[in-house]
Symmetry: D2
Subunit: 507 residues, 4 copies
């Protein structure tokens, strides 16, 4: 699927109370951030399936704050609740959980990458097939979603959402196979791109991961009941035991007969997305067998190895830069200090009354801790650089607070290419590193020095000797341009101009 945003529809919802704008964070205003696409969760056989799913989604909230949904099955009917807003806004309420009875459930949190944030796009999607009900939650993005959609509509399909995920439902519905799992696998074979799926039928909980394993999916267990989740932190939240990662290309099925693993695709070397380590996953998660926290510390230590100016303090850009800054500090011996305080009550965009105030630097999200900075030479550590607008403000804020030198380090390489697998990045024209030299970036940001983690350094911090161009271990296309799959939709004429839906702003 491509990255088209139908922002015209964003304000549209039947729900008067919490439109998406209620959750616009100030980062969003200038788009200077990475945004995760989704998180998924599923459980089979537990009496409190929906309540546990709600907790699991809450632990995955960092993967998507715009909407959340749960579908449960009670033995005769499916029940669905899908809402805009945070998990806790809706799914912490007893009456909502009571409307989701049954001992199997799948859930989803969403940051919209395709399709406007409107209620009909909130997942899990549900369809009544001839075989019975079928619910799907999807993390990732298809690179041939639009192409498949067109083919299906031409064949008479009527789409109810504007998401790429819906094509999976229609592919299953149109399959001529008689066995449900065969139909599902036939559908997967048509897909291209990234997908970690949790699916629910009236008999089974199904998990699936694309052949390259671009997005994560783990398998755990609570009181004997199998669980699927995007990250291990969701297992920790509910006291569940981690069993293993779902393998790339694996289809795992849980039903009354137990667990069955299918491997319908020819084996290929995995290419998990390196951004899970850099930014997306929670630091207490273990992704692909590695502690995210430790990897981030290693990125920071590697940064110190690659270049180390003479400074007085290491200051993280909170919160995502903190582990790398700790790693940098521990490796370099330079003291770690909270030179920037993060205001946790963000979430609304206030009126900024006058130009003078705007220029003097209203700080809704970050403020300088002058006592830790004044008269010091500081090194700032952030996780990654997208547009650079926030970085520029932070550097100026540091100087205003009395820093005598400000060095800026990114715990990841320069982002040069867009992503098509579920990360919401600007076009190349909007990526600072794709359009500016290092020196131009340094000057624009206003730092005394600027450095990025090297690509080989990134691999080294993850235990590889260096990146192997013939067989890179990770999906690192944003840094290298080496995309791991076809990008079929990109070959459509003017795909970015294409009107994804004829129905604007629909409720």
């Amino acid at each position: 699927m491509d990255q088209h945003h139908d922002s015209s529809g964003e304000a549209q919802t039947a729900d008067l109370d919490f439109g998406p704008q209620a959750y616009l964070r100030d980062d969003d205003l200038d788009g200077d951030t990475l945004r995760e696409e989704c998180g998924v969760f599923g459980i089979y056989g537990h009496n409190d399936a929906s309540a546990i799913t709600a907790l699991g989604l809450h632990a995955l909230q960092h993967r998507g704050q715009e909407a959340a949904g749960i579908v449960s099955y009670d033995g005769s009917r499916f029940h669905s609740e899908r809402r805009l807003g945070l998990v806790g806004d809706t799914f912490s309420r007893r009456e909502v959980i009571e409307r989701l009875p049954g001992n199997a459930a799948v859930g989803h949190v969403r940051y919209a990458t395709t399709g406007a944030t409107i209620l009909r796009n909130v997942q899990p999607l549900f369809a009544e097939l001839n075989a019975g009900g079928f619910a799907v939650g999807h993390n990732g993005n298809l690179t041939n979603g639009l192409t498949l959609r067109r083919e299906l509509v031409r064949a008479g399909a009527i789409m109810q959402s504007t998401t790429d995920t819906e094509v999976i439902l229609h592919l299953v519905a149109h399959s001529r196979r008689s066995n449900f799992i065969d139909r599902f696998i036939e559908a997967l074979r048509a897909l291209e791109g990234a997908y970690s799926l949790v699916c629910l039928t009236n008999k089974k909980l199904i998990g699936a991961r694309d052949p390259l394993g671009i997005r994560p999916l783990v398998y755990g267990e609570l009181e004997g009941c199998p669980i699927l989740a995007s990250e291990t932190c969701a297992l920790d939240m509910i006291g569940a035991r981690y069993i293993r990662d779902i393998e790339p290309g694996e289809v795992i099925v849980f039903d009354e007969q137990g667990v069955h693993s299918h491997k319908p695709f020819p084996p290929k070397p995995a290419r998990p997305c390196v951004f899970e380590y850099i930014y997306f996953a929670r630091p207490d998660s273990v992704v692909g067998g590695r502690s995210v926290y430790e990897v981030r510390k290693a990125f920071g230590a590697q940064l110190a190895r690659e270049s180390h100016p003479d400074v007085d303090v290491v200051v993280p850009v909170p919160d995502s830069g903190v582990p790398a800054a700790i790693g940098y500090s521990q490796h370099s011996g330079v003291p770690f200090e909270l030179g920037i305080i993060r205001n946790h009550y963000v979430g609304r965009t206030f009126i900024q009354p006058t130009q003078a105030i705007r220029e003097s630097g209203v700080r809704m999200k970050h403020s300088a801790n002058r006592a830790a900075i004044e008269g010091k030479r500081i090194i700032l550590i952030d996780d990654s650089l997208v547009r650079g607008t926030t970085s520029r403000k932070i550097v100026r804020m540091m100087r205003d607070a009395g820093a005598t030198e400000v060095h800026f380090r990114l715990a990841s390489p320069p982002i040069l290419y867009p992503d098509y697998y579920g990360i919401d990045l600007p076009d190349r024209g909007g990526l600072l590193a794709a359009t500016h030299s290092l020196e131009e970036m340094r000057e624009l940001i206003g730092a005394d020095s600027l450095a990025f983690l090297s690509i080989d350094g990134m691999y080294r911090a993850m235990g590889e000797p260096a990146r192997d161009p013939a067989a890179p271990k990770y999906a690192d296309h944003c840094f290298t341009g080496s995309y791991p799959t076809h990008l079929t939709d990109q070959s459509l004429v003017e795909p970015t101009q294409h009107q994804l839906s004829l129905l604007a702003e629909a409720s």
Copy 2:
């Protein structure tokens, strides 16, 4: 579609503030009322298409109070707003109308007859077909909706609503014809039952009426722009000119080339639903060329002709009994008095604190006007009798207020059979007249005498000599059992037990 109600889903909506219960009227509590199914409206070529549609729907509000929707087309995209609640709750607001740009629009008000009252069932339904967008608003009910739905799902269709209307979209999507109107007509040929449709494509406004013309649909004009509406009162509201009724079996198409009328069905004698005259249509509407008000007065006059006890005053059961009571009074010479006052602030069900108070007769909706009744022999006139529970309460209220005799008259014949064309009636077991003799009903209601308008009298009041059993002029099956179409869904095994949707209470 059959008349199954999925009331379990009624409480389900994304809208936190006004669940359907906010609109529960006290009649609804004992189901002792007729409920209309829907009203439709469409306009083509007017700059203020949506604002005019909102006004038209407001005039049709009596035909459906549970939800309302408008779809407009602006030349490149469709725009849709569908909400639970009254038209004025949503569509009186400028910002909502501004989200519905374009010079063509169709709208719908709904009292759910099939499918729970959930947002995804609110019409007009919209689909993106290969040919482009297609919106449909439907008044009526299909008698083979469930059968068609099953066939379509078997062929791979995924339904987004639980309404019978959606099968029309899928039939069009699956048609092999190349011309859109041909596809549409092919779809209509598969339908059985009652339908008055307004449809919008990116080129056309289309109206259609089932071959028997069971539900009404009129054609008018405002400032040169064609209008379709369920009743003439919607034309009056906006100052539009009435042109003619859409004929039974007619498909009318408005586009840039003008107006085209298609008659794809072999001609048959029309069978418009007589309940439009008895109860549903607004008294100031002209239906099938007749003033509804005058027909109701004629029913009342005919009642007086058929039996006239010696009484002091004629008292209408407000508001629907008023025209018949005026007719009765004018024909009989007995004074017309407001013996019952209607409280127009109903809409909520209050706690009725104690049994004593309940028995003493808390009157949320009606109260006795003692001054007009005390010491009098009265004749009460109501439009029709369903369960009889309200009638019993009203008779007792009249006696408590001092009436010395209470005679009860219904300005329609006894209802003996259910409807399958969009009127929400109880099963036969719940219809008082289907299960009790006249004398039993009189005793149960507590009246001194009870009489219904005769079937022949009803026809006579409408200008016929009597009902012609070989060729009845109206759909009068609720009184006679003579259904004008096949009832295919009724032959399904246990149709009333059938689970309409696997997804309960979905949002």
Copy 3:
């Protein structure tokens, strides 16, 4: 204007921002209506005091639709709920009633006459005095409220509302008497104007009516428990028994010792407000011993006696003109017809898209019933005339629908003077009859003839030979200028310009 304010209220409360504008009805837009001030209710000693009070207020809803409140006392604490909107919006909900425990309660419905419609002005007002809690609900308006307010603030009082009612609380708080009833009576002695009060302390339910009895207040009984209410319809709603009217100048006290009546004022001839009969009271109420319905019919019959053009039908302006039209019809023998249909789903102001539509007469509230009018000479009967804007529209609507002659009759005399006792009327400049001759009015309204009920005719319809200028039986100052009390606040410099509160638009 009509006394059934029907469903203008029904649609509300979906509106989250419930500023007063949410309750603007379309009548309000041109101010062409009489608006009632308030209704009060109280009960003592009943286990379901609050639930019964809610029902009583619902029956009094026509007296005030902007806000409602209940204060209860549970033996140790007072409980209060005060909300903008209709009674049923809030007080039909079990959880609200459960927050109002206790066996004594007072309630109030409000149409603001003084003070903006903000929550702190919603009654009953409550204060914690040294003697304990004290709640007051007030129907009427003080003519020295502003003067008293200024004196109290000068003495150090801090007002929490902008209502005139609050001065009563402060007068009681500042009284030096030791006995509570003495303090209360001392406060009443300072008041000038119209007041019917229901008050609650931790021991007593108290009712009081001003010395002239301008506003109504009745005393009833339910299951042995005393009740106070503005109108008998509130007693009927709950099945309570009417005992008697509270007398002008009476203070009635209910406590554990029983009932005590105080008459602290020297006796004077009563002057009840005649507008209760003309417009305000519900037709099924009995006010001052007279059926409101019968009085209105008598006004209509008297109108026919005073002038009777040769017409074909009598048409009421619904709903308030209906009883007078029935009286006119019965006296004159001219048939009564529903020539105007009222839309009960008003309550919102829709966008009126184009000038053409506006001029062609969009009718949100009334529509012409052409069948009853076309080709007829009609006589329209309305209750009263304020600005005349609605009357003009209705006459034109009748002509557009084919009436050949339109005669207009008002079942009350011309309104020439403002009211200061709780009726919200325009200044003299806004009163049509105060600024135009009869012929000018007729021309402006566009009627073929125009006539008002004569003042003597009004008295005659109420059983008097004529108005006795030396001792008029009713407060009829709006017709005669003969105000029954001093108007102290009117002598303040620029009283109408005076800023009632320094705090604008407070929440």
Copy 4:
């Protein structure tokens, strides 16, 4: 005023959408936290007074999350908005700011210490005095508020709130002085306890701080306009310049004539509350001339000096324990690690489905970062200990994650006594340290060792040689029992049983 909580009223609000429960944080469930009382802000002479006040309050949000309010003055009228919820929920919206015109404004954020969290208690309070309008925002708590309230009610005052702050309004209203500042100072002389006030009249912005300076108040300047704020972080947020702290006992007045400082009280040694440094103030604020961040680091370093077990890592309890943990790490050389990850999406209490899950440790707010802990000896640093329930859970969570030893350190002394100046602490019976020995606490918490910062160590970290019992430099009564003022209300008979208001749950 005392610390009585009227929690029965909490659910009560005029605001349907976000009752206080929406903001219940999970800490609140077991009361194991310190809660700040309030923050205040005021500005004089700026065109964007209200927008700037909204930003200032947002920066002070950590001082009170239950409600917020702003009162502005536009030269002729006052405008007020007071709402439950966060500042950003209401005051980020343009239409709200536009309802607060004028160039002077005062604002308040509140965590209720007295009076239920109901709208009428939300500050700034406003009164219309004879001299004109008067708005007051108060941080702190009076220790004779209840006594003064009783005296005022006895004299005829009617209170509109249940806060201690309102007595200030009434004392000013009842003063016999003619000059407003004289009246205000006369009122202050009657007060006992802690107060930092911002007040607005139609001419002046006034700040005042109690004679001991228990609560902070700073004076700054933006574009030539004076600002008052609880903390310097509010000045930083808007780019304002810090000028100086308001002195203990100082009354500062800003008007068209400029700034005037009054010192109406005899000078006394200041006793600022030490908890501002320990917990309440934001780390980037400078309180009493000291960086809060640096003081907290010094507390951590002092902790390391006082006892230092042999451990592998220092782990802060986030977020409040972070600066002390950094201080400890830097002093001891033990690596600082994020062993606990804080979930920033808290705010709702989810259903915890089964006992098994509850015991296995559902972590809504904190989760263990196993990679940083497993196999390690850790030392946990938290700011203070109230009930100990959270500490016990965290220790167990650390052991579950594989910590081999868990040592617990508090960067403040044991809390032994309640506070009466605005900090919401449990009674002595609820304070763990007041009822358990150190060893009992260690065992209860489950740590391998437990230590608190010593009282002298606390003073030493702040630059004093030790605490001087004859003249302690800070209000440290929670640790020492040495209260800096009289506690008049505590001598009332059964003050904690006293019913603060006769009106329960009033809106």
